[in-house]
Structure formats: C-alpha cells, structure tokens
C-alpha cells in the first residue's frame, strides 16, 4: 500500500482546528441561551407531537378504522413511516461505528449529531409498531415472556425478528451515544451551574479525564463499534424481510436486504445533512463542520443513490425476466397504475437528482445539498409507500384489487412523528454538545503533533 500523498491531517480536515479553549467555548456555546426562533421551533414540534398523541388516543379508543386502510391494503402510512424512520436511523451507526473502525476521522465533526439522530429516529420508528397494531393493549404478547398459559411467540414471523432487531438497535445506539458523550458531559459539568450541574455530574459518571479512564473509554467505543457494525446491516435487512418473506408480488424478492440497507444509509445521510446544515448555520460552527464534511457525505449519498437506482432497475428486470404474470403486472402497475405519481417521485428524487453530485461544484454547494437532502427524504418516504401500498393493492386476486388513500389522522400522526423527533433533537441541542468536543480535540492534538499542514 502506498502511503497517502496528502498529509493525514489534511485528510481529516483541510482547515486547521481553532485552539483548544476556543473549541470548548464554541461548541459549548451551542448549548447556551435560547432564542425566540428556538422556542418557536420547539413549540411547533411539541404541537405536532401532541396533535399526533391526541389522534393516537382517539385511534385507540375508536379503532384503527380512522386511518385510510382499505381492503386489501392492510398496511398503510404507519408501516411506511416506520420503515422510513428505521432507515433514517442508519446513518448514525454507520458514521459512528463503521467509519470509526475504518478510522475515517472526518466523521468526528458529525458523529454526535448523527448518533443523536439515530437514537431519536429509532425511538420514533419503534412507536409506529405500536401505533400500527390493532390492539396496543395486548401488544406485549409479542414479547417472549414466561407465562402460566405456556404461550410462546412465533420465531418464524419476520415481525418478531423486527421486534428484536429494533430493540437491539435502540439499545446499542443509546449506549453508543451515551458512552461517546461521557467526556463531553464532564466538560459541560465543569462549566455548568444549577440543576444542569447535578444532571451532568450524574451522567458524567465521575469522569476526570485520567488516562486509565481514557483508555477504558476508547476500548469501549471500539468494542461497541464492533458490536454495532453488524447491526447496521442487520436491522434494515430484518425490516426488509417483513416484506421479502411474504409472497406478495413486488415484495417477494431476494434483493430486498441489500436494497433496503443501501436505501437506509442513503436516507440516513440525507437526514444528517438536513439537520446539520441548519445547525451549522445557526450556531456558527463553520470552523468545525466544514464543507469538506458535507462533500464527503455527498459522496456517500451519491454511492448509495446509485446502489438504490441499481436495485430499482434490477427489480423491474427480474419481474420481467421471471415470467410470472402477477409479478409483471404488479411492477407495470407500480409505474403506470394508480400510484404512478409516488413511483416517479421515488425514482426522480432518489436516483436521478442525486446523480448531479458527480459535479464537485454541487457537492460543496450547501444550499443545493440542503434542498437535495430534503427531496431525498421525501423520495425515500415515497419509496416505502410505493413498495408497501402498490404491492398490496395489486395482488393475486384481481376481484379484490383495492385502492388506498391516506386519511387525515394518518397524515397527522406522520407529521407528529417529525414533531416528536424534532422535539428531542432540539432539546438535545441545548443539553448536550452536538459536535463531539473530545473527538474534535483529538484532531487538534493530531494537528499539533504533525503541524497544521505538516508532514510526517
């Protein structure tokens, strides 16, 4: 292997880091004070969250019928949104774990935000399992708990795998976020007063920054990364098997696991951009999160978008090549049937527009990236909509082909899921450093040792 021609520090970040104390100050400043804009955003998020909560309570009382379900489309917007948020949750772990293992140091600027996003996205997604089932009050049946009736769960069911996959993923991502936060919490503890002091003292777990603590910390991050890496691949594979294991035309394909994982990473990165671009702008973190980071993410988006595009084409090719009439019909109707708009939104937003990222100018054009990332999020929601709704609406039995139109309660709960997510993200911004201070300093130390533009 030839050594890199570019200085290592340059690979990590092309611009030198600000000095140590300023880093602390800048990054902790994010947590200080709350503007009217912040309160407005938080209020808006809380409003939607509570709106959705109200709708949900009404739904539990009245019945799932208030949603738009129409036979035979028995999975609707809730499962679409579930898969959407699980997908979003992927970028965090990918950035934290896989990029950590690959020593891609540029991730340090964005990993905290991505990890927080992951945790909140998984929590949002998990709620949809409960919102979706008809009898939430009996949903504990899905857990394999010992009971005197000797009832057990069906380990053959992909939904059970889902339960385990999601709960495992949630546990690991919360741990990952927390372990990474400990040194930063300690920094915050040292500066905080009042109730925050108490909170940080508890959460910092007595961190003093001794070398033995650092050693333990680094090792635990390494091990967690090792544990989390397979999860990145497994969680969305399992979610995809909810569909692939069924015999529904349009679902029953072997490509689903890699296709879903690529799609998940794709949407996850898009969501990181959607969140971090405003955060950087509002809190003036240009020195820490540079265009260079965004460009790297854009490259990832380009790669995963291309994989998605390949998957789309492959699905159509195989359905034609299979010679199975039901498959052919399902896919033809997917593109030209009742849901053609959703399908073309998905294809254009997810595979056509991201191809513009081949141009470096656009990769570093932050407003463009922001708009694109939002469009990708929309496109990825529609991808799940297309997969779930169109497939169910055109199945084996033409006598009961149906049509699904989302209802207002469903859309309210969809909006509420963003409200829930944003509420927690906004609170997180003010309680914890959104850029990992300790890890940023690691880079600074590295720079000091080797000189800003230094050579080895």
């Amino acid at each position: 292997m030839t050594p890199p021609t570019q200085p290592v520090a340059g690979m990590i970040r092309p611009v030198p880091m600000p000095p140590d104390s300023q880093t602390n100050r800048d990054l902790l400043a994010v947590m200080k004070g709350t503007s009217a804009g912040y309160w407005f955003l938080l209020g808006l998020s809380l409003f939607f969250m509570h709106l959705a909560g109200g709708i949900w309570i009404w739904q539990v009382y009245k019945g799932l019928g208030i949603a738009g379900y129409a036979h035979p489309i028995f999975w609707g917007v809730y499962i679409v949104t579930f898969v959407f948020w699980v997908g979003i949750a992927h970028a965090g772990t990918l950035i934290s774990a896989i990029l950590f293992l690959f020593r891609a140091k540029w991730r340090n600027a964005i990993n905290r935000g991505a990890e927080a996003m992951t945790v909140f996205a998984v929590l949002t997604a998990a709620q949809f399992l409960g919102i979706h089932v008809g009898r939430i009050w009996k949903s504990y049946f899905i857990l394999p708990y010992p009971n005197q009736r000797g009832l057990w769960v069906n380990f053959k069911s992909p939904l059970l795998w889902d339960t385990f996959a999601i709960s495992t993923y949630a546990t690991i991502s919360i741990l990952f976020l927390f372990v990474g936060l400990i040194p930063d919490i300690a920094i915050a503890r040292d500066r905080a007063t009042g109730w925050k002091k108490v909170l940080y003292t508890v959460l910092a777990l007595g961190w003093v920054g001794s070398s033995s603590q650092w050693k333990a910390h680094n090792r635990s991050v390494l091990h967690l990364s090792g544990l989390a890496t397979p999860l990145v691949l497994s969680v969305h594979s399992v979610v995809s098997w909810d569909f692939a294991m069924a015999l529904v035309p349009g679902w029953h394909t072997t490509i689903f696991a890699p296709y879903f994982v690529a799609g998940a990473i794709f949407s996850g990165f898009a969501m990181v951009l959607t969140l971090m671009i405003p955060v950087r702008r509002i809190f003036g973190l240009e020195a820490y999160i540079t265009d260079y980071h965004f460009e790297n993410m854009a490259r990832f988006i380009l790669l995963t978008s291309t994989i998605c595009g390949y998957a789309y084409m492959s699905e159509y090719f195989i359905s034609w090549y299979s010679g199975v009439e039901a498959e052919q019909t399902a896919f033809w109707l997917r593109a030209f049937g009742p849901y053609w708009i959703s399908t073309w939104v998905m294809i254009i937003f997810n595979t056509v527009l991201p191809q513009l990222l081949w141009f470096k100018k656009l990769r570093v054009n932050v407003p463009f990236l922001f708009v694109l990332s939002v469009l990708i999020n929309i496109g990825m929601w529609f991808e799940r909509y297309v997969i779930i709704i169109t497939a169910l609406s055109r199945e084996y039995n033409p006598a009961v082909w149906g049509e699904f139109i989302p209802s207002w309660p469903e859309m309210g709960i969809l909006a509420g899921s963003f409200g829930f997510f944003c509420t927690f993200f906004l609170i997180f911004l003010k309680l914890f450093p959104v850029v990992a201070i300790a890890e940023m300093k690691e880079i600074a130390i590295h720079e000091k040792a080797h000189g800003a533009q230094g050579t080895h």
Partner: protein, 1029 residues
C-alpha cells in the same frame, strides 16, 4: 387515629379515583343466570329446531328455525319440503332479521292531531276500529299482500262480517300475464308451473328464473340437476333472451340480446321454425294445423327484422328445441313485462306447445293457490280511483307497502290522503304505515301462526319460534278482536277462538302436531291433465309493445335478487351483500352500455338524470358491456326514506333516501289483460356533471389467466385430462394473444381457446393434518353448479355473527363478509390499465362466459398466513384447519397481507357494539365468538358446527360421519355447489365429488403451493349447437 387534613383528604381522593379509573378499564362484570325452573324443551347450549315456512315471497320455501334459549338464531331450509329441499335463498336467510329490527313498532299507535304518534291500548284501538267501521260501513276496504289460505279465508269472512266494501290482494309482481296467457292459450286461468329438472333444453325469454322469478330456489335446484355434466350431452342447455346480462343470462350457454319487448315475436319465430323443422323431418306435432295458422306471419326473416336476432339463429333454435328430448320455454319475468306481456307469455306457451313441453316440463293445472288470488293491476288501479273519488273512507292495509311500490303516476299516495282513516298492520315502519292513522302492529313471521299453500299438494305451516318481542298481535287476531268490538252479531259471523284455533281447525283433516313437526303436509303433486289449445287462441295479436314517453333509452326496471320489490331493503345483510351481477351494495346505480356512456360523456360514478314521462331520478352510472346500447337498467328495491337500514342517515338523523326508487318514475300502465306492466317507459338520460362514489365490492372482472374461476369447454372435458392439460399449455399467456384480446376488448371467449384450465396440483391433502387426526376438513366447490345467487354469503354472515358495516365503510372495501362470490368474465388476459382505479369490465353482448367463484378461506395445508403471525394467533390446528384465536390476535394484519386469496377481514372498529343495533344482538349465534375491535377474522369452516358434530359423535363413541357436519354456506346452497367433508375419508362426498370432477378439479392459485383444502371444479362451457363452448 390521625386527623384527616385537607392534604391527606386529597391524597385519598386521588388514590380512590385512580383505583376507580383503573378498575374501569377492565370489561364490566356480567353475570350468567341459570334458569330457576328450566323450560322442558330448552337445554342451554342445545339448539331447538322448529319447522316453519318462509314468508319473503310467494314461493313458500320450508324452514327449519334454529332456536337457542328461546331465540331464533338461524334459518335453514327444511330438507323435506318439496319446494326448496333444504336450501334457502339470500332473502330467506336474511328474513330472520325482521323480528329483531331495531325500528319495529313497540305496540299499537294512534296518530295525534299534531301528526305525531301516541301509544294506545289494544282494547281502545279495537273499539276505535269498530266505531270507525260502523260509521263508514261498506266504504271500508282491505288492501293487502298475498297471505296464506287460512288467513286469507279469515280476511274474506271478516270483510263479509263487518260489511266492508271489499278486499284487494296487491302484489307488485302480480304474474297476471302468466295467468291470463294460460287462459288464452289453454283455457285454464292459473299460473302454469315450470319444472326444469328433467329438461335438456331451456329457452328463457327473460324470466330470470335463477334470481327473482316465481320460485328461484326450486328453479335453481332443478336447473342444476338438469345441467349435471355427467349426463347425456353434458347436461341441459340454456338459451337466454333479454337485453341485459343478468345472473341467469350469465349462467346460459347462449345469450340473444333481442330488442326488448319483442320476446314474444321471437318465441313465435322459433315456434314457427320448429314447426317447419317438424314438417321437414316428419315429426308429429299435435294441433299442427291450428298452430301453423297462428304462426303463419312469423317467418324467420320477418321475426329477425323485428327482434334483431339473426334468421339463422332462429332457424337453428327452432330445430334444436324440436330435437331436444325435453325442451322448455320460460316466459318473461318482471323486468320484461311489457304492455304486450300477455301476448308475449302466450307466445312462449305456444312455443312450449309446439315443442311438446306441456305435461312434461310445463304443468297447467288450476291450483287456486294464494298467488292466484292476487288482483291484477287494473283492479288495484280501480281501487285507487275509488279512493281518489272519496268512496273509500277506511282502508286496512296489511303485508304490503303500496306507497313505495305503486307506480309514480298511479297517484296512490295522494289517493291515500283522501281516505279518512288508514289502518296499517305493519310490524315496523314503512312508507305506507308512516301515512296511516292507526298502527296495529302484526307479529313478524317468526312470531306468528299461519300456513301457506304454494301449489296443489303442498301445504305448509308457519309456527311461532319466539315470544313476541313487542306488544304486537297477530293480524288474524286483530281481525277477530275488532269484529268482536263491533258487537256480538258481527262476532258471530267469524269463527270463535283465536287465529291459532282457526288454523288448527283448518288443518283438522291432518295430524296437526305431526304436520307442525314436519313443517306441513307434502302430498303428491297434481299432475297436469291433458290440455288442448283454446279456441280463442287465434284471436291473440302479437305486436311490438308501445313505450311511454320519449328518449333514446328503454328503461328496464330490474327486480333485485336481494331486495326484490323493495321489501328486502330494511334487512342489513341484503343491503350489504353485493348484487350478484354488478357487485354494488347499499346504493342504486344505472347500467348503460359503454357506447352509450361514451355518447353521454359519463364515466363510472358520474350521476345521470334519468327522465321519463312521469319523473326524474338521479343516480350514479356503472357502464358495462353486458347491456344493449338502447337500454338503461335500474334495479328495483332502493329509494326508501323509511326504515332503519332501508333509509340513510342524513343531517345526523334517519330518514334520508337511500338510492332511488325506479318505480317512482314508471308510468301506471298495464298489459292487455290488466296485469302490471314494467317495461313501459322510455327514458331521456343526461349526465348531470356530479359524481358519486359507488360502493362496488369488485371492480375488475379480468382474472388475467390466473387460477381462479376456471372454466373448461365441454369438448376439452370430453377429450379427457390429457386434452385439458394440452389446452392448458395452449392457453398459457403469450404477448400476441394479449394484444389481440386487448384490441377486441373482449377477452377470451368462444374462440376455441380451450380455457386456461389446469388440473389439480397432485398433492396428498391428508398430510396437512396431524397423523393422529382422523380428519382433514375440506370442501369441493363445483363452479358449474354455482349460479352466483349469493345465499351462502348471507347464511355465513348470520351463522358466524359477521356484522354489516354500511355504505361508507363498504366504500373503503371494509365489508366483513367471510365469503364472497367473485365474478369473472372469460379466462382474462394480461391487460395493463393505467391511471387510477376505474372498474373495468369485459362483458360483451352475447358472451355468456361468466364465472362465479365463491371465495372463502381455503384452509391451506401450507398456509401463508400462519408463519407470519408473531403471536400464533393464527395457527395450524391438528385437523388441518387454519385456526384463528381472536383473544391472541394483536392486529398486525400481516396474515392478511400474506394471504393470496385475500379472505381475511379485520375489525377496524368495534363493530360488534357499534353495528349490531339492539335488539339485533339477540340474533347473535351463542356458539360463535363476537369479535372485538382490532382483531382479524375469517372463515372457520363453521368450526362450531364441527365441534357440535364431534360432541354427538363422541357420545356414540364413533368418528364424525360424513354429512353430519355441514357449514352454513353448503347447507343453504340451492344447487348444492358446495360439498364439505373429511379429505382423509375416501368415501366422503367431498372427496368423491372432487374425484368425479376429474379434469375439472383445480386448486385456486395452485402455483403458490399453498395446498388449499378446497378443490374447485371448473365451470363447463357447453355452448349450444352452432356456438362454441
């Protein structure tokens, strides 16, 4: 003890409120109270069955009323009854609900000055009636529906005793034409009886005998018997004449969409062709010379011009009918009763005479049955005139709803206003009773005594099976009591005792108790004596009927197989069961051809204004291929604004009009002999620009060549399995075919495609239950016998407590029925439609390749629903059934997604509470769990019946015998298309029938390898000579 301060007090309040709230979350405690003194015949948990008679239509099918703990919960046909032999139609099944309708009158009611109702005691009511009658004397009149002989006799006695002016028996479907045509042709004024069971050639001039005409259950059974494919020539042929692809037309082998109103001319043309063929072949036809005289003007070319049926076809059919062993021609039913209906019917009877059907399939006997008492429409119109003139001052109306069912311009409602005092005996509100001054509610048939004589030799009894739910009294008793209130002189002219004792007296020539147990006395049917042509026959004139009004469409009012003349509209199951042809529920719709719709610029669901000389109605259009371009068809039965289920909620309260009443735009016209004419109006149609969503449960009839609703041609079947397999391969989808078919918009029919019929997947179904189990439950469904009548749907819903959900939820396809009948046209092809859902249909004028395929849970051996349930709520039971544990279900709905047959239904709301309106809950079957909100449900093969059978078998220490357990759908099937049994028992009927089906046997969607327990037998496409099968 410490003092209770404010803080502690609040704490305690909080805790106790919390505890109360927490305990409020659990279900309220209900108590089961045992009988203190147990009634002798009632053992809790064991059904008691009473024989009775169905009162929904004059056919008079025998009933077995299944009661539990004193409540009738299910009707089944009486297997010994000669009319229905154990089967019931959808209407018969649903009629049990009449007793439990939420809107029944609580007791006698009197109209107040302010227009409202006030309760009145029966005694006061009788006194009032007596006073009124005494005051008006012979200006009293009785107007009622057709009732049984004993009650009818009592009414006549009452009319005489109280000195009333008269009595009119009014039935909207009066069959006067049939009676009068019989008089003209044979000199016998009685409705002839048609027996199809031995026929080998049925020529139907639009009678629609499988859906609404005279006795659909009986005719359905007879036709299925005549059509058994293992007979000579593959069973009887059916040729249908009519402008619309009805259910009967869809079961025919050839369909001639002749110009409406010309059926009689066509019949004579065919008779003439038969006569000519007889002359050529030297066959003997009685009265040939006389007939030749009548038929002289009906040469094939002249007839062809009038009827728009090709001359060659007329010639061919004439020959075929003459050559047939036992041909029969059926006269027009209600929809085609034109102003020349008597002549048309006479023409059909003449055809029967020519081809020698009289005495073999057509029996002309004076029967004096209840239906013969029905007044002709002319007589009813005379009554209306008298009412208008004020010469009727008191009208007693029973068992009929003329305000709804009299033609729009008959002026009945206005005439009713002129009557000083109107008494109604309706048990619940209808359009007529709402205009009455006094309501003396009658019992429902489930609460009544009575009898019925559908035809000579058949006398059947009606007995009460529940104590009356409300303060109602039998109509017979009302008559007797009101006469008594008039004084002893009047009372003396009526028999003493109650109506029940009168009934017993009327039956004193029989062993009454034995007759009650058996359901009646079923003697030998009177054979038809020799009938000769009446001399007056030559004076009949056969011309085309005239139509009232102008407009480019002929208005075809179709009697609904479910709602009949509108009397079924208040029964929720009949509203929610899809129309067997158009699959529309809860609504009215207009049928016009695609060409006509295009010319009007109307698309599916666009609201049309249909204007006749009488009035205008607005309703959404469902364009279809199976109707003539010059005809608009609207089903009779909707358009009620009274009735809990018949009307709709508007502005938060009942009383809105559901659909439209086509009768309201029909002119009051009769045929030559005074019978009511229906096919009388022309309609001008325009699109209003409005749009309405149509609650249609099946929107696509193209089965795309998939293994559903299969059919096989007789030729392929005769050539055996090999040929069937070969044609199977030949029918495999190819792009050329698809293109060709897409162009002709017709799909696969009659072009020798041989059908995409595939033989049964060779697997051994007995492995799908555990080795220890002696059972693997399964079914054989013969699509060649299924005519699509939909009785099974209603039977299933009532047996299994399946709720109805109403129009709004059917629009979301959320109907709960466990069983549906899929209707496909031809083998279908891979048509790719773009855009949003617009129902497509592939009906073509003249094409009869309609497949009706009952679809219910297939109880798969390798069921896709089972592995995906995370909590084992659906699982494979040891006897091979897909069990469904409602209590375990958390409602992920994955099972439904993975079910290729899409037979699972989900409780989106708490239907059991919200949609079962009191006292409808009394109808719930206690053997079947009532499902709560949020759980999945589906067909169980009536597992409660299997368990019932098991208990009986266990008592005898033997396995369950074949035929001992019959699910509700199979039990009620008029044609016995469904056979249920144990697939591990080679001698079981289900296995034998599947084996006998041979190359016709297939499994639905067998390519998915779900190992279904239901074997379908493909429909046989017979074709007629000259047409392809």
């Amino acid at each position: 003890m410490p003092e209770i301060d404010r803080r502690n007090f609040l704490k305690l309040v909080g805790v106790s409120a919390g505890a109360a709230a927490a305990s409020g979350c659990s279900d309220p405690v209900q108590k089961l109270i045992p009988y203190v003194v147990q009634p002798e015949v009632i053992t809790p948990g064991i059904a008691v069955i009473y024989a009775s008679t169905c009162q929904e239509c004059p056919a008079g099918c025998g009933l077995h009323v299944r009661t539990r703990e004193g409540r009738p919960i299910k009707l089944e046909g009486n297997p010994d009854h000669p009319v229905n032999r154990g089967a019931l139609c959808a209407r018969g099944q649903a009629s049990i609900g009449r007793t439990y309708l939420p809107d029944r009158y609580p007791g006698p009611l009197k109209r107040q000055a302010d227009g409202g109702w006030a309760p009145i005691s029966w005694e006061d009511a009788y006194a009032l009636v007596a006073k009124k009658i005494a005051a008006v004397g012979d200006r009293t009149h009785v107007l009622g529906g057709s009732v049984g002989p004993t009650l009818s006799g009592l009414i006549d006695q009452w009319v005489a005793a109280v000195g009333a002016g008269g009595r009119t028996v009014y039935e909207p479907f009066d069959y006067t034409a049939l009676k009068e045509a019989s008089r003209s042709v044979f000199g016998i004024a009685s409705r002839p009886r048609f027996d199809l069971s031995q026929a080998d050639f049925v020529m139907d001039f639009g009678s629609d005998f499988l859906e609404s005409w005279t006795s659909p259950v009986e005719h359905g059974r007879q036709f299925a018997a005549a059509r058994r494919v293992d007979q000579e020539a593959g069973g009887a042929r059916l040729v249908y004449v009519g402008p619309r692809l009805t259910l009967t037309a869809g079961n025919s082998d050839e369909w001639l969409p002749a110009k409406p109103g010309t059926e009689g001319v066509l019949a004579l043309g065919i008779a003439r062709a038969a006569l000519d063929a007889a002359r050529d072949s030297g066959a003997e036809v009685p009265d040939a010379d006389q007939l030749r005289g009548i038929l002289s003007g009906f040469g094939e070319n002249a007839v062809s011009t009038i009827t728009e049926v090709p001359a060659a076809t007329i010639r061919r059919l004439g020959k075929a009918m003459l050559a047939a062993r036992q041909p029969v021609a059926l006269p027009p039913g209600v929809a085609l009763t034109s102003r020349r209906a008597t002549a048309t019917t006479a023409a059909v009877l003449i055809l029967n005479a020519v081809v020698g059907a009289i005495g073999k399939s057509v029996f002309v006997v004076p029967d004096g049955s209840a239906t013969d008492q029905v007044a002709s429409y002319r007589e009813v119109a005379q009554l209306v005139q008298r009412m208008k003139a004020g010469s009727v001052s008191l009208l007693l109306i029973h068992d009929t709803n003329p305000v709804y069912s009299m033609p729009g311009d008959s002026g009945f409602a206005e005439a009713l206003e002129k009557v000083d005092f109107v008494i109604s005996t309706a048990s619940g509100p209808d359009e007529t009773s709402e205009r009455a001054d006094l309501i003396l509610p009658d019992h429902t048939p489930m609460e009544s005594w009575g009898d019925h004589a559908p035809r000579p030799g058949v006398r059947s009894l009606i007995q009460p099976t529940i104590r009356p739910l409300h303060d109602s009294r039998a109509f017979g008793d009302t008559l007797i009591e009101s006469a008594r209130a008039m004084g002893d002189a009047t009372a003396a002219q009526l028999p003493s005792g109650s109506f029940r004792t009168i009934l017993e007296q009327a039956w004193s020539d029989t062993d009454f108790r034995a007759a009650l147990a058996a359901g009646g006395v079923f003697g030998k049917e009177a054979a038809s004596g020799a009938v000769t042509l009446a001399p007056g026959i030559s004076s009949l004139s056969f011309t085309e009927p005239r139509f009232e009004g102008d407009g480019s469409f002929v208005l075809l009012p179709v009697p609904s197989p479910l709602l009949s003349d509108g009397r079924g509209a208040n029964l929720p199951w009949l509203q929610e069961t899809p129309d067997p042809v158009m699959k529309v529920t809860w609504q009215s719709w207009a049928e016009i051809s695609h060409t006509a719709a295009e010319a009007l610029g109307a698309e599916y669901g666009d609201v049309l204004a249909v204007r006749t000389s009488v009035g205008v109605v607005e309703l959404p259009v469902v364009p279809r291929g199976g109707i003539r371009d010059d005809v608009i068809a609207i089903a009779i039965g909707q358009g009620h604004d009274v009735g809990f289920y018949a009307s709709r909620v508007e502005d938060g309260k009942l009383g809105g009009t559901r659909g439209v009443n086509v009768i309201s735009i029909l002119p009051a016209l009769t045929d030559e002999s005074g019978g009511r004419a229906w096919l009388t109006a022309r309609a001008a149609v325009r699109a209003t620009g409005a749009h309405r969503r149509v609650a249609k449960t099946q929107e696509f009839d193209n089965k795309r060549g998939r293994q559903l609703g299969e059919a096989v041609s007789l030729a392929a079947l005769a050539a055996g399995d090999e040929a069937a397999e070969a044609s199977n391969a030949a029918a495999a989808y190819s792009e050329e075919q698809a293109g060709a078919h897409a162009d002709e918009h017709g799909g696969a029919h009659g072009d020798g495609q041989g059908g995409s019929h595939e033989i049964r997947k060779p697997y051994d179904p007995t492995h799908d239950s555990t080795d220890e189990s002696p059972y693997r439950w399964g079914m054989t469904i013969d699509l060649d016998r299924c005519n699509g009548c939909s009785a099974c749907i209603v039977a299933c819903s009532i047996e299994n407590n399946v709720p109805t959900v109403g129009e709004e939820l059917v629009l979301l396809d959320r109907q709960m029925q466990w069983l549906r009948i899929e209707r496909y046209i031809g083998d279908g092809f891979q048509e790719l439609v773009t855009g949003r859902n617009a129902p497509t249909d592939h009906e073509v004028l003249g094409n009869t390749d309609v497949r009706h395929s009952p679809m219910l849970c297939q109880q798969c051996g390798a069921a896709p629903c089972e592995p995906v349930c995370p909590v084992f709520a659906t699982y494979h039971n040891p006897e091979g059934l897909n069990g469904m544990i409602y209590n375990r279900c958390i409602g992920t709905r994955y099972c439904s997604n993975n079910c290729p047959y899409k037979v699972r239904r989900y409780n989106w709301f708490d239907y059991a509470i919200e949609n079962v309106h009191e006292p409808m809950h009394l109808l719930l079957n206690p053997d079947v769990t009532v499902r709560g909100q949020g759980v999945m449900e589906k067909c169980t093969f009536c597992i409660q019946r299997i368990e019932g059978g098991r208990q009986i078998a266990k008592d005898g220490n033997r396995p369950i015998a074949d035929g001992e357990v019959t699910p509700a759908c199979a039990q009620t099937c008029p044609t016995q298309a469904i056979t249920f049994g144990n697939l591990k028992d080679d001698a079981s009927a289900a296995v034998k029938q599947a084996d006998a089906g041979g190359a016709r046997a297939y499994h639905a969607l067998h390519m998915l390898n779900t190992r279904p327990s239901i074997t379908y037998l493909a429909k046989v496409r017979r074709g007629t000579e000259g047409t392809e099968g």
